[in-house]
């Protein structure tokens, strides 16, 4: 456990599934050879296959404190990085050709199940769930690495893979129950979300957070009582870790999703929310029930003209309030390594 722990709260009621976070991360960190099929940040439609496909059945993590065996996800599970025959069709060679993935018709991709979800019409349901490395307090990846190449920074709890030390054994991929680690075939190393360390160490919010048009992500230190994280996780107890039963103690938390009611053929309401509570409990644990009740209660307070600190935090009228101490604008930091002085 680190002296301080940086954390993120992701509000699923605000997430619009646009994947701007995904591309923000992609263009910032994973745009080099060997990283084509790599998404340190994903947004999946739940329920659905997710990324990698059916990752929740792949094991890893801990049970009763004991490390669990796990399956190593393959690129095909994440979805291959398709290349397209654009040049042939556009500029000669094959003017009547069909532009599409050159590897053949795809059968899975990182966002394959977008907007599909579950249930039966008209009471179908779905929501979006963005995921990054959870920078766990008890990282299963770190425990699993025979090389000690994975470490947790004392100053902020960010979990990093030392890529000089990594030998590409990929036990971490098996051990991580969230399957948030990728393998770079070009470098032969495991790679994953670095919590935008080069940004964060200069006080700039992570790319996925700062670039999120839905204003979904809150940042800060867990123990900062004035920050949004502490308020949402500890004070109001509405932000919950994903799959707490994996026992890695994630430091990414979620505001669970509301949904419109389900109804019968005559229009009588069946359930206040169409997302089955048992499904939500399977994701966020039994605490999800109270979390949703608190959110609904506070929202009703606002509707009646009252005040609610919780709602105000979730709204964050001033965008920068989302980011705790990480409010520096990128243009205000040095643009060279030398200029940063801490390289």
């Amino acid at each position: 456990m680190s002296s301080k722990q940086v954390a993120m709260v992701i509000d699923l009621n605000k997430c619009i599934g646009c994947q701007t976070c995904t591309v923000a991360c992609k263009t910032q960190w994973t745009n080099k050879e060997g990283q084509e099929g790599m998404y340190w940040n994903t947004v999946s439609t739940a329920p659905g296959g997710g990324t990698p496909k059916d990752w929740e059945g792949m094991g890893g993590g801990f049970r009763d404190g004991k490390a669990q065996a796990g399956i190593r996800p393959k690129q095909a599970d994440f979805g291959d990085a398709w290349e397209f025959n654009v040049e042939d069709v556009m500029f000669g060679g094959d003017p009547n050709g069909t532009v599409g993935p050159m590897e053949g018709d795809p059968i899975y991709g990182t966002n394959w199940d977008e907007d599909v979800g579950g249930g039966d019409y008209p009471n179908s349901f779905f929501f979006y769930i963005p995921r990054i490395c959870n920078h766990c307090t008890k990282p299963a990846c770190m425990e699993a690495c025979p090389r000690g190449a994975i470490y947790k920074r004392d100053e902020d709890g960010i979990v990093l893979i030392n890529e000089d030390h990594c030998r590409g054994f990929r036990f971490c991929q098996e051990a991580c129950p969230y399957k948030e680690i990728y393998f770079n075939q070009t470098t032969g190393t495991a790679q994953k979300c670095i919590f935008c360390l080069p940004r964060v160490e200069e006080g700039v919010a992570t790319a996925c957070s700062r670039q999120c048009p839905g204003r979904v992500r809150f940042l800060g230190f867990l123990d900062d009582e004035d920050g949004p994280i502490h308020k949402l996780v500890y004070k109001h107890k509405v932000a919950l870790p994903l799959h707490p039963e994996y026992e890695t103690e994630p430091n990414v938390f979620y505001i669970p999703p509301l949904a419109p009611p389900s109804f019968d053929d005559e229009g009588n309401e069946i359930d206040e929310s169409r997302i089955p509570i048992l499904y939500l409990i399977s994701l966020f644990g039994p605490a999800v029930h109270d979390s949703l009740e608190i959110i609904k209660h506070e929202r009703e307070l606002k509707r009646q003209g009252g005040t609610s600190e919780l709602m105000d935090v979730l709204i964050s009228r001033n965008w920068l309030d989302l980011f705790g101490p990480f409010t520096t604008q990128p243009k205000d930091v040095a643009r060279t390594l030398e200029g940063r002085g801490n390289a």
Binding site: G60, K66, A67, Q68, A69, G70, R72, K74, Q75, A140, E143, A144, C145, P146, R147, G148, R167, F169, R170, F171, E174, A175, F183, Q185
Partner: protein, 210 residues
């Protein structure tokens, strides 16, 4: 076992070279690297009910010319894996003590490190590695290390070569010297890597002909 002194060491650098057939093979018994010595709980949990290190033997041959050492190792491996895309490659390693009396199964210690040459079927990559205990391996000093492998009909044959002269932190070797050798092989098809391997249970005497 003995490393015979020869004049034309270059003709021994190919594992399939005919000259090797006249060299006597030293059969080393191999065992799975003990589960209890695996460095992490996760690895133990993953492999406790899963077979690995099933290569039962490795045949060793060696020659040197006073400057360069060549070690020929062959072992049984039913299915080849060159570690394409996401696969793990078949691999082999030979180890020598650097100083002290390192324990082979625990990969030495800081007082008694061991030096290894590791070859991988992926691109015939051969690396010099220094180990001071399980999970500690670091790039070792350059000893002009080289490796070449060939697979045929269920048998891998690999020739390691290196200079006898060794800088600090490599096992010192010289003609006439007696040292120890250890062996490990990995079955890539079975996703063996790191400590999941077949290993010679202990050192074998290794004598370089004067």
């Amino acid at each position: 076992m003995q490393s015979r002194r020869v004049a034309d060491i270059d003709s021994y650098l190919d594992p399939a070279a005919a000259v090797w057939s006249s060299e006597a093979a030293n059969r080393i018994d191999m065992i799975p690297a003990p589960l209890g010595l695996q460095p992490t709980d996760h690895i133990i949990a993953t492999w406790e009910n899963r077979p690995y290190g099933e290569a039962e033997w490795a045949d060793l041959k060696s020659v040197h010319d006073g400057e360069t050492l060549a070690v020929h190792i062959s072992w049984s491996c039913a299915k080849i894996s060159i570690g394409a895309s996401e696969g793990f490659p078949d691999a082999a390693a030979i180890a020598f003590p650097v100083r002290g009396e390192p324990i082979l199964l625990s990969m030495g210690s800081s007082d008694a490190p061991m030096h290894m040459l590791q070859w991988k079927a992926k691109g015939n990559e051969t690396r010099s590695v220094l180990a001071e205990g399980i999970g500690s391996s670091l790039p070792g000093p350059s000893v002009s290390e080289n490796g070449k492998g060939g697979w045929s009909q269920g048998i891998w044959s690999v020739v390691f070569s290196r200079s006898l002269n060794a800088p600090e932190n490599a096992s010192p070797l010289s003609a006439g010297m007696t040292t120890l050798i250890g062996v490990a092989v990995w079955n890539g098809t079975n996703e063996e890597r790191a400590g999941i391997k077949a290993v010679s249970g202990d050192w074998t005497d290794f004598i370089l002909e004067a």
